[in-house]
Symmetry: C2
């Protein structure tokens, strides 16, 4: 359900082709909600059938024709409905924490490598989120520019403020994941030993 809203969100800024969108999912919005091509193309088709978006074929001789998607009034309505709907919270489901809880079963080397992977991943994310935040503040993001161009100037501050706030949250999350995994590395060293043996009750 959220891919749909991520797509609508993007299209509220300006009309785009599925290809453009999929590039954006590889960057900007993709840093908040990622989706691969294989989800984007069919989802846009379905949204077209539902009347949330409209496509215009832009023929360009030789090349395959592009389809430019534009949000409809109904799409805007649906998007607004989603944003105002009560947010539902799912119960926790974190693979990394699950793994961490049973680290006594791991080889010290592999445990260390996995913590390092965790740190590397979030350092990467952190860099991108910080770059994105900076691009919002100095208005160098093209999506933001298009969005601001299509909305009244008295709204500009709010629009930017909420996006910066979003990235602030993600940046904080990245930092705390990094700090956590660094403590994890220390703990692994402290506890370095053979992994636990199989429990007595296991059966061959």
């Amino acid at each position: 359900m959220s891919l749909r809203n991520a797509l609508l969100a993007l299209l509220t800024a300006r009309p785009l082709t599925a290809y453009d969108i999929s590039k954006q999912f590889g960057a900007s919005v993709g840093y908040v909600w990622f989706a691969p091509d294989s989800q984007i193309y069919p989802q846009l088709r379905r949204m077209e059938e539902e009347g949330l978006v409209e496509a215009t074929e832009l023929p360009s001789e030789g090349r395959r024709t592009k389809r430019e998607y534009r949000i409809t009034d109904e799409g805007v309505r649906a998007f607004r409905e989603w944003i105002n709907a009560p947010a539902s919270h799912q119960r926790e489901r974190s693979v990394h924490h699950l793994r961490a809880a049973y680290l006594e079963w791991a080889e010290t080397d592999e445990a260390r490598r996995n913590m390092e992977r965790h740190i590397a991943f979030y350092r990467e994310q952190l860099a991108q989120w910080e770059a994105q935040r900076a691009a919002l503040l100095d208005r160098s993001s093209p999506t933001l520019a298009a969005r601001l161009a299509g909305s009244p100037p008295e709204q500009h501050e709010r629009i930017v403020a909420f996006k910066v706030f979003t990235y602030d949250g993600l940046i904080e999350r990245a930092r705390s994941e990094i700090a956590w995994a660094e403590r994890g590395l220390e703990l692994i060293e402290e506890m370095a030993a053979e992994p636990t043996p199989a429990p007595v009750h296991a059966r061959a």
Copy 2:
């Protein structure tokens, strides 16, 4: 793939029926990896076919027969393999951050209510994670007791340490979600205004 490992993890402590497991998923492990009954029962059956677990029918006159699941050596192997395998990190996909990024589209009231929901949810999670952490430290968790009973005493410290570390991460996460949403509430008040109008490019 992780439900399977969460189940194996639980069964390394002691044999359990699907019903017991599903209770645990509503509490202890469920605070790290949640799953409903409708996933647990069929998954255990599949794992039985794969030879990762073995079931013993415990007939009790009158009542429906319980099936007690016990991890097999192959199950232990599979679990160890998972814990040592390189952790794969998915790209970000956070509904709440997605929503936050487009809060200029929301009604102030609804935006506020959703932030309050976010805070309430994580306060609840925080309380449970803190309780869980305390239960580990004072050894009052029954699953932990069973696990420690089935493993050599020199391992006990490690076993507890990794679990405490896990909950520390979750507790930190909950705190930062709460702090973020509290800043969100302030921002919503500061920015209180009519939601943005529909963009000029939308089509009826």
